[in-house]
Amino acid sequence: MSILVNKRTRVVIQGITGGAGSFHARQMLEYGTQVVAGVTPGKGGTKFDDRVPIFDTVSRAVRETGADVSCIFVPAPFCGDAIAEAAGAGVSLVVVITEGIPTLDMIAARRLLDEKGVRMVGPNCPGVLTPGECKVGIAPGYVHTPGRVGVVSRSGTLTYEAVWQLSALGIGQSTCLGIGGDPVGGIDFVDALTMFEADAGTDAVVLIGEIGGAAEERAAAFVREHVKKPVAAFIAGVTAPSGKRMGHAGAIISGSSGKAADKIEALRGAGVAVTANPAEIGVTLQAALRGKKGR
């Protein structure tokens, strides 16, 4: 079992003929993902690597191939439009890898997705991966192992780090998902925790947060009320200076809210095992699994 994607997932890649799109389309195919279609306006009727049919529009791709998840690599200036296209085309999930999308474009895109009942992972994220079944995005496949721990993170490479630590300890993952660090995105910690808590294939959850916003605080409140499974966490940015922009647009601390210390305190207060050492995310989860936290 898993959340969001599995071996039956049929993926359409928007921007499949671009640099990043084509490289990662091949990586996804190599991982065993069912990439059933690509979309590049003007290249409809051709094939990607002689195997994946390319369409001019997402709705045509969905109609002809039954794709149910779209993975988007379209450049930032055109990405808001690409998300809107996917929202109306009949897929149930869009995974947006593109970084640098203007915030106002994302606000408009998210409104449309909500109206259509379509979920989004991202933007500016590594995507979602169910080990051994399906990879939608850019995460290095080889670090993952099939298993029963869910991973949700606002960061890309830090997700790989956590997954790597789990795999090295022999702890496999049910589904790993990077939700992205932008101010306005799709699935958040609470959504992911809801799905992992309901998933019969997930026994525990690793949550990786960072400074800025209040998503971790809301996750803590949700864990306290609704999550019975053990949760381990790391919050990046304890050493970050206030008010500075640390790469992610979302990672801004201003004033008293959004600080790592407040997030850690909230999570600990909810019974989450929080480590201060990013090299000990795996062992922290391991200990939480053994102890079951008495929850």
Partner: protein, 394 residues
């Protein structure tokens, strides 16, 4: 990107948001001339001389003076220009004042607050107003949250007339002021959208004795992600407000922030870069910088980034922590080797490599003949770097 007050007000003025008459001055002569011109235009002797820095709290720090006459304006300019202004937003090091805004004095009856922000939780642009202008809005939110009215705006319709009126009349203002304020709030929302702002704040937003409303301040932050569709935005940048190394990094396509420690860091990904600083601190070290080389970095970009670290005299050891995803480990290795060949390496270098093309990356570093300490994971790498920088005993 943050704008200066005078730049924000220029955007407001063009959009029909009333602002005081004013001129920018870069030296005392310009300040005096600006005051003289304003006095001639308005017939009022009162002028305000305001320090222009990218931080709030300027008044309390002595960066704003209300004076009578052009000679007094010159004197105020003399005092403020070049001063190191320390406010609650600048940090203890403060900021040097390099430009002034000289404005007409106005007869203020009431101070309000207006702000437009992106609310991440509601995923909407939110407009806020308050009758408690002139105070820190965070303080108002803490003490009297009921005095802040807000409205989440549907992007499909924008701020509608009735929504603006609900906010304006909600402040207890009578006509004609409430109606005027509602119209100005509409114009303000249009500026926010048209210019791709991520923050617009006016504190105070004043009601004059005449009943007119005027934006007495302007704090505007632009969304850097939207810069591609605003050709004029780059011209609004003030390089003197930035650390030169940070500005150069951004121009070269990576993200760098100077810190106060002695261990240089090069990492891919913002989250892992922050975590790398955290783990150094956890083991008793102090990071010299935050550096995210980014996902799609080329060999040249890696080399450029590494040279930025090498050029920091405070750096006593370097920790390269890479988990290759899009960034391939061999590209990273080539970049580091190229930078060291060109600029030399005078401090210990610890490298931890994992991820895409890791074997090739390690091989390249091994064959390079450089004195590199290889770490098997980030914990070992961080401990080695801390020990080599002399922050703790090895």
């Amino acid at each position: 990107m943050k704008l200066h007050e005078h730049q924000g007000k220029e955007l407001f003025r063009k959009a029909g948001v009333p602002v005081p008459l004013g001129r920018v001055a870069f030296n005392v002569d310009e300040a005096e001339a600006a005051a003289r011109a304003l006095i001639a235009e308005t017939g009022v002797e009162t002028v305000v001389v305001k320090a222009q820095i990218h931080a709030g709290g300027r008044g309390k720090g002595g960066g704003v003076k209300v004076v009578q006459g052009a000679a007094a304006a010159r004197e105020a300019a003399q005092r403020i220009l070049g001063m190191n202004l320390v406010t609650h937003q600048t940090g203890s090091e403060g900021k040097v004042v390099r430009r002034l805004l000289v404005e007409q004095g106005l007869r203020v009856a009431k101070e309000l607050y207006a702000g437009i922000v992106v609310d991440r939780d509601r995923r909407r642009v939110v407009m806020m107003v308050s009758s408690e202008g002139g105070m820190e809005i965070e303080e108002v939110a803490r003490r009297t949250p009921e005095k802040i009215l807000s409205r989440a705006i549907d992007p499909a319709y924008g701020l509608r007339g009735f929504e603006a009126r609900e906010l304006a009349f909600g402040l207890g203002l009578g006509e004609p002021t409430a109606g005027k304020l509602a119209r100005v709030l509409g114009a303000l929302y249009k500026v926010f959208v048209a210019e791709d702002c991520s923050l617009v704040e006016i504190n105070p937003f004043v009601v004059l004795e005449s009943g007119d409303v005027v934006a007495l301040d302007a704090k505007v932050t632009l969304d850097d992600n939207a810069a591609y569709r605003h050709k004029e935005h780059p011209t609004l940048a003030d390089p003197s407000e930035e650390d030169p190394a940070e500005a150069a990094a951004r121009a070269a396509g990576f993200s760098y922030i100077r810190m106060h420690g002695d261990i240089g860091c090069m990492v891919n990904g913002a989250g892992l870069a922050m975590a790398t600083m955290d783990i150094l601190k956890h083991h008793g070290g102090e990071p010299a910088n935050f550096l995210d080389v980014g996902g799609g970095a080329s060999k040249d970009q890696v080399a450029q980034a590494f040279k930025v670290i090498l050029s920091d005299p405070a750096v006593k050891a370097i920790f390269v922590n890479i988990f290759g995803g899009i960034l391939k480990c061999d590209v990273l290795a080539e970049g580091v080797i190229a930078a060291v060949r060109e600029a030399g390496l005078k401090v210990p270098l610890v490298v931890r490599l994992e991820g895409t093309n890791v074997a090739r990356g390690r091989q390249l570093l091994g064959e390079s003949g450089l004195a590199i300490q290889v770490a098997k994971d980030m914990d070992e790498g961080a401990k080695k770097a801390v020990a080599l920088a002399g922050d703790t005993e090895p």
